[in-house]
Symmetry: C2
C-alpha cells in the first residue's frame, strides 16, 4: 500500500515585504513614540486609535473603472460581500472617524495617532509593506494658528526625542501661492497644475535644468527612457522656476543691492549685510545667526517677491497672506529661523494639500551607502487639506496635520547616538546544580525586587560553557555562579562580564590583579555587590 502523502511542512517566513522587530527595535521605537505623545498631549491633542481595518468604500481606494480595490491596499471581501482593507495611512481613517463621530467630538478636534499602516506595493530594500506612522491633525478650523501650532509642535517634538536645535529645520510654504503663480501665468487646467506640482517636487533629484526640461517638452532620463514634459512654454515656465527658487533670487538681489551702495548706505544696510552674511557669506558657516530684524527683513523680501510673481491672482494673494500670518504667529512665540523658516522651495508632492505645507528636515550630515557625506533629509511633513471629510458629509471641513516618518526619525536618533547605547542584557544566574533551582530562583527574585533585570539559565545546564555563551548572546553584564561548594559556605561568585571581556582582550597583568573580573561575596550581599558592579559599568 502506498504511504499516505504527508502535508509538506510550512515555510517559516514572513510574507514578502514584511518583517519582525526584535528587542531594542521594539522598545526604542516605543520610547520615542512615548516622548512624542507627551509633547502632543501637552499641546492638547487627544489620542485616537482607529480600527486597522476599514471598508474600502471609506478609504476611497476603488479604481474608477473596476470592481476590485486598487492595488495599493490589502483588501478582501467580507462574508456579506463588502470589501474591507487594511488602512494605508492614518489620515483617511481620521476623515472617516471625524465624519462618523463629529457630533461627539470637540470642534476643532485635535488628535494624534500612532500605529502601523499597510501598503500593497512592491517591496524593496528598506521598503516594507507594513510600517509605522505617527500623525497629529487639527480638524475643523481654517485658522492659520492651527498650522502655526503644528509647526511649533513639530519643532518641540524633534527636540523632545533628542534632535538638537540647529540639527533640524521646519520649512513652511503655501500651496495657494503656487496656484496663484500658475493662475497668473495662465496654467489653469487642474491636471496640468498637478503635473507641475509633481515636477517641481523633483527639484532635489534632477536639479534646475532637469525641472526646466520636465516642465517643458520632456527629458531623456538616466536609464535612457524619454519622460514626457508638462508642456509649458518658456514664458509660462519662468515664474514657476522663480517661485521654487524665490529665496535664491531674493538673495541675488540683496547681493546686488549691497554692491550698489557706496558711501550712501540706507538705514537697513546693517540688516541687509547680516542677511547676506548668514545666508551666503562665510560668517553664516561660522555660526552667525539671524537676529529678529534680519530675519524679518528677509521674510518681507521673500513675501514681496512672491507677490510680484502672483500678480493679481486672488488665491495667490491669500497664500502670501497666510504665509505672513504663520510667520508672524511663530515669531511671536519665539520660533525663529533657527527652528522654522518660510521656504518657497517646499512643495510636497501629495495632491490633496490646499494651503500651507511644511516639512521637517534634519540638517546634519551622514555618510551614504558609498561613504559620501549627505544631509540626513526629511523626517516629517504635512499641510492643510480641506476636502477629505467632504467625501462623507458633503460639507468641506478644514483640517491640517503632520506625519512623522517613524523609522526615519528613529534611524536619525541612532545616527546621533541618542538611542541604542544602553546595556539591556539581564544578569544571568547560572545553574551548577539542578537540584538547587529553588535557590537560583530566589536569587533572581532578590535581584528583580531591587529592580535589576535578572534571569536563571533555563537551558540544559550540563555544559557550563554553553551557559556562558548564552550569557554572551544575551548581552549579560554579570553572571552569578554558585555550586555545592558555595552553597555550603553560603557564598556566591559574581562575574563581571563586561570587565571580563575587556581583560580577555587587552588587560595587562597589573589590571587583572588590581580588579579581578570575578569576586566571591556572602549570599546576603548578592544584590548590593551586583548593583555596585552595574554602576561601575556605566
Amino acid at each position: 500500500m502506498a504511504k499516505p502523502r504527508k502535508t509538506p511542512r510550512p515555510r517559516a517566513e514572513t510574507p514578502k515585504g514584511f518583517r519582525d522587530y526584535f528587542g531594542s527595535d521594539v522598545t526604542e521605537r516605543a520610547a520615542m513614540l512615548g516622548k512624542i505623545a507627551e509633547v502632543y498631549h501637552r499641546y492638547g491633542f487627544d489620542a485616537l486609535e482607529s480600527s486597522a481595518v476599514e471598508t474600502v468604500e471609506a478609504l476611497g481606494k476603488f479604481l474608477p473603472d473596476v470592481d476590485r480595490p486598487n492595488d495599493g491596499v490589502f483588501a478582501w471581501q467580507d462574508e456579506d460581500e463588502k470589501w474591507l482593507a487594511l488602512r494605508y495611512d492614518l489620515t483617511a481613517p481620521l476623515a472617516r472617524v471625524y465624519a462618523q463621530h463629529r457630533n461627539d467630538l470637540p470642534t476643532p478636534y485635535r488628535r494624534y495617532a500612532m500605529g502601523p499602516v499597510w501598503r500593497n506595493e512592491k517591496p524593496g530594500p528598506g521598503r516594507f509593506r507594513q510600517f509605522y506612522q505617527c500623525d497629529a491633525d487639527t480638524v475643523g478650523t481654517a485658522s492659520m494658528a492651527a498650522d502655526a501650532e503644528i509647526c511649533a509642535m513639530l519643532a518641540d517634538t524633534l527636540e523632545a526625542v533628542g534632535i538638537e536645535r540647529g540639527d533640524y529645520v521646519v520649512r513652511v510654504n503655501n500651496r495657494k501661492v503656487l496656484n496663484g503663480v500658475l493662475e497668473a501665468t495662465g496654467v489653469s487646467d487642474p491636471e496640468q497644475q498637478a503635473a507641475v506640482l509633481r515636477t517641481i517636487d523633483k527639484f532635489d533629484k534632477v536639479g534646475e535644468a532637469g525641472v526646466r526640461e520636465l516642465l517643458g517638452k520632456g527629458r531623456l532620463d538616466a536609464s535612457g527612457a524619454y519622460i514626457d514634459g508638462v508642456g509649458l512654454s518658456d514664458i509660462q515656465m519662468q515664474p514657476v522656476m522663480d517661485f521654487v527658487q524665490a529665496k535664491k533670487i531674493v538673495l541675488d538681489r540683496v547681493e546686488k543691492e549691497l554692491d550698489s551702495f557706496a558711501d550712501n548706505k540706507p538705514i537697513e544696510y546693517q540688516q541687509l549685510l547680516r542677511v547676506w552674511s548668514v545666508e551666503r557669506g562665510p560668517d553664516g558657516k561660522r555660526g552667525l545667526q539671524h537676529n529678529a530684524e534680519s530675519y524679518a527683513l528677509l521674510t518681507a523680501r521673500v513675501l514681496g517677491f512672491l507677490n510680484e510673481l502672483i500678480g493679481s491672482s486672488t488665491v495667490g494673494q491669500e497664500g502670501v497672506l497666510e504665509l505672513r500670518e504663520i510667520s508672524t504667529l511663530l515669531l511671536a512665540q519665539g520660533y525663529g529661523p533657527d527652528r522654522i523658516v518660510i521656504d518657497p522651495s517646499v512643495v510636497r508632492g501629495l495632491g490633496y494639500y490646499t494651503g500651507p505645507v511644511f516639512e521637517a528636515e534634519l540638517t546634519f550630515e551622514i555618510l551614504d551607502e558609498k561613504g559620501r557625506p549627505r544631509q540626513f533629509g526629511s523626517v516629517a511633513g504635512g499641510g492643510r487639506y480641506d476636502d477629505l471629510v467632504k467625501r462623507f458629509t458633503g460639507q468641506a471641513v478644514p483640517a491640517t496635520g503632520v506625519s512623522i516618518g517613524v523609522d526615519r526619525l528613529l534611524a536619525a536618533l541612532r545616527e546621533k547616538g541618542r538611542v541604542g547605547g544602553e546595556v539591556e542584557g539581564p544578569v544571568v544566574v547560572t545553574v551548577m546544580d539542578r537540584g538547587r533551582m529553588a535557590d537560583y530562583q530566589a536569587m533572581v527574585g532578590d535581584l528583580r525586587r531591587a529592580d535589576i533585570r535578572a534571569e536563571v539559565y533555563l537551558g540544559n545546564p550540563k555544559n557550563f560553557g554553553n551557559q556562558m555563551k548564552y550569557a554572551d548572546r544575551r548581552g549579560s553584564p554579570v553572571a552569578i555562579i554558585a555550586g555545592e561548594d558555595e552553597f555550603a559556605r553560603d557564598m556566591v561568585q559574581i562575574k563581571d562580564l563586561i570587565l571580563g571581556a575587556r581583560i580577555a582582550e587587552s588587560a595587562t597583568l597589573e589590571e587583572w590583579k588590581e580588579r579581578p573580573s570575578q569576586v566571591e561575596v556572602p549570599r546576603a550581599q548578592l544584590v548590593e555587590k551586583v548593583r555596585e558592579i552595574l554602576e561601575g559599568q556605566r
Copy 2:
C-alpha cells in the same frame, strides 16, 4: 440631457465588529501595557513585534478539505497567488518567528509581545474582531522552572498594574494529570479525550450535574436544544469528576478526619484545623490565611489524592511530579497561596496544552448587568505547549507561556479605580480678540514649557459661550480670558472651571465670596497661578 449619475457618498463607519478607541481608552491601555512590559523586561523577557500579516500556511489555518483559509481569519490572495492573513493570536507567529530565527535567538528564548490580533468571527456585544493581546513565552526549555517563573511573573504583573494581593489568585494545574486519569479509566481515543476537556471546562457554567450529563449521554440545554454527550459510562466518569473536584473532596476528607478525632489528636491536628478553617470555616472569611505548614499539608493531600486517581499511569505520575515541582519552586521564592495555588479544577479549553496550565482570576466582586454580585473572574491564562514549532522544523520544541486579556484587565483596573481618575483636559486659552492670536499662543507656550497641558481655542471665536462649551467638552480644569481691557493693563483672567462647576451646583454665598472661581492676575504670574489652581484641584 440626463444628469451624470453621481457616485453615492461613502458611509462613515467602521466595518462590522471593529471599533475606534479615543483619548484615555488609548492612553490608559498604553500605560498599563508599559507597566507590564517593565515587569517582563525585569524577568529577562525580550520584546518581539512580529508582522501583523502572515502566510496562511505559517498560521496553519487551512481547513483540511477546502482550498480557502478557514473562516476564523481574515485572509486574501497575494498577487503571486499566496494566501495571506492577519494573525489571530500572538502564539502562532511566535512559533513561526522561532522556527525562522532559531539560530540567531538565545536558547531558551524568553519573549513578550503586545499588539492587536484579528478574528473573523461573528461580532457580538463586547466581542470585537480586533482586540489586544499581551503574551509572554519561554521557548526551548522543558524545565518546570520556566512554568513556575511565568506564574510568578504573572502575579508580579497583576500587582504592578494595580491589582492588590488578595484581589487575585493564580491557579495552576497540569494537563498530564487529567490524561493520566483518563488513561487509568480507559478513555484512550484522543477525540474523546479532547471532548472531555472541553466539557469539564464548562464546569463554571453548567455545574456538576450538567457536566455529568454532558460527559455521559447528553443534555437538554436552556434553549431546548439537545447537546450530545461524550458517552462515558458512570464508572469512567467518576474519576474525571473526582479530578475536577479534587480539592473539594480532599477538604471533605479533612472535615471527616477532624470529626473523627476525640482526645487522641495527631501531631498534624493544628495544621488540619487551620486548613479547614481557612478553606471552609468562618475564620477563612475573616481573613485567616494559610501558613507555610498548612498550605504544604493541603498541597500534599491534593497531590496524594491525584495520585490515587491516576493509578499506574506514567503520564499521570509525570503530571503530579511536575505540579509538585512547580509548587516547591514557587514556595521557595515566597509565592504562597495568597498569590499562587495548585488547583485541579483549572483545565483551560485549548487543545494544544501538554503539561502545566495556569489561570489568573480576580477574586473581588463586581455587579453584573442585572446588579447581582459576582466574582470578576479570569484575566489571564496559559500553559505549556510543546508541539507548535514542530510543524515547521520537524523537531519538538518545548515552550510555555501566558496571555493576558488586555481589555478585561483594563476593565478590572477601571472597576478598582486604578485608572481613569485623572484630570486630563487641557487649560483652554480663550480668544476674545482675533488680532491677539500671537499673544494667546505665547500664553499656551509659557504654560506648556511649564509642563502644563494647554491649548488656544481655534474655533470661531465670535460666540464666547461656544468657547466655554468647548472647554467643558474638553474637560478643561482652567480657562484663561484676556480681552483688550486686560491687555491694556497687562493682566489675565483665570477661571477655575472645576470650582466654577461646583459653585454653580451647590455653593453657598459664603463659599462664593471666600473663593471666587475667577481671579485676575498680572500676565507675568499666569503660569504660577494656573499651577496653584491645578494643584488645589487634585
